[in-house]
Symmetry: C2
Subunit: 307 residues, 2 copies
Amino acid sequence: MSVIALGTMAFDAIETPFGKIDKIVGGSATYVAYAASHLVKPILQISIVGEDFPKEEMEELKKRGVQLDGVEIVAGKKSFFWSGKYHLDMNTRDTLVTDLNVLADFDPVVPESYQGAEFLMLGNLMPGLQISVINQLRKRPKLIVLDTMNFWMETTLDDLKKALTLIDVLLINDSEARFLSGEFSLVKAAKIIMEMGPKYLIIKKGEHGALLFHENHVFFAPALPLEDVFDPTGAGDAFAGGFIGHIARTKDISFDNMKTGIIVGSAMASFCVEKFGPQRLKEITKQEIDVRLAEFVQLVNFDIDLV
Amino acid sequence: MSVIALGTMAFDAIETPFGKIDKIVGGSATYVAYAASHLVKPILQISIVGEDFPKEEMEELKKRGVQLDGVEIVAGKKSFFWSGKYHLDMNTRDTLVTDLNVLADFDPVVPESYQGAEFLMLGNLMPGLQISVINQLRKRPKLIVLDTMNFWMETTLDDLKKALTLIDVLLINDSEARFLSGEFSLVKAAKIIMEMGPKYLIIKKGEHGALLFHENHVFFAPALPLEDVFDPTGAGDAFAGGFIGHIARTKDISFDNMKTGIIVGSAMASFCVEKFGPQRLKEITKQEIDVRLAEFVQLVNFDIDLV
């Protein structure tokens, strides 16, 4: 049931209408690992950090079943740093600083001990590196999920398009789906994007939930209506971690089970936004997760009879 | 099972990215009646028109079980006219023309034959007129639903606040909920608005679905993902008609049955946007409605087990 998770491990500085934090651990692979580790073990992490990345964070991850053989620690260098400020609606943000640091020279190597992993989560990162990890795996995983963002569509579209031909599930948000397809209608956009390679497409719509497309089927998962979204950073990665964690735990890659995976992902995202950084993902218990999943059932459950 | 429907009957001129129409029948009560008449009869219409309103439209409504005793026809005057242009995203529109015409002097009179109606749908209209109709009913209906819009919040807030103390269910969209409550979070907004009077609040989010709030409960209904939204005009009224039609048909005003009512309303709205004006609402068959309701079940249905 092992899951390889590729992505960044980083420091973030975040400003939201609710507060400000100058330095907190972040990065796509960090969020994926914390979310997925509630569902499945081991998580086989592939990332890169500088010598400044906290030892305690590494220990915390290990305790949760996250293996770090694939995490390169570069002496004398700093970890990737991102700083951003959210607008009042929390759906848009400005990037203030992006210091690539160690990420500039990242050339991921899949450790021998990771070979044979059944599931691969390619967290948001340069598409060329996502391709490199796929190519290093001698046996194709049962399911390859790729998360990406508008930045890679604008700067490395050819690499991204190549990556799309190699994967099963693509995770993007609504504006990215529109950008990538050139279509405003998400239904039309989904058809075009699935022709680019992925058999499954998940379009995240933030507070408006997420859509799963496959052939002519569509599934809609709501976001949990929350009183406050404290910090949206990492919500998409937590969603990805919850999704791949559920799929790996159940070893079932059917469309119906992906629906449930999206609900689990939405639950993880709903926890993630409650506090700064990955803090809330570290605190939550199995019981809290179960209660939240039951809330999702309540949220969308209805009886219907024909007219 | 009778439903009183108050609202406008009008002409619209509509421009969307897909086309343009100079004159088509519209108005909140027209859409409500066409949608609700698929579910329940009679609909007891209260409205006002000029002598220009088509006789054929009146006959069409009557054939569907819509009683028109409460529709005043003013000789020598014109019907209410609205003209609007939708932006590319179809979520925002500019009002180009509003000619009140007969609506300027509308003073609705509830016909004696309407007394004793069990359900009251107060379509989007001046709040003072909505209150007047409530006050004319000698026996309070089992359920009073009120639809309104930002214009009345900005121009006649005192009347609207009074109306809110008299009703059971309020229907507004997300930006109106934020405006009315002064809260950005829809969960917080809902609490504040329910304290103003309505025990149930439905927040419509267009292509992002709708939320139903009651005490500490919340239900989420998705919008059907559509390839094209041809013309959103009347979608909110069709939603209202489907909702009240379902409630009246089943005579069940429980929270659980309101959930189903919202799905039926969403189905009616999804038909409405497929063609200009109320055209599609006139064409649809019971079988088409049933097929669409089944699509909603498919859209949100998932299995969950605990982690």
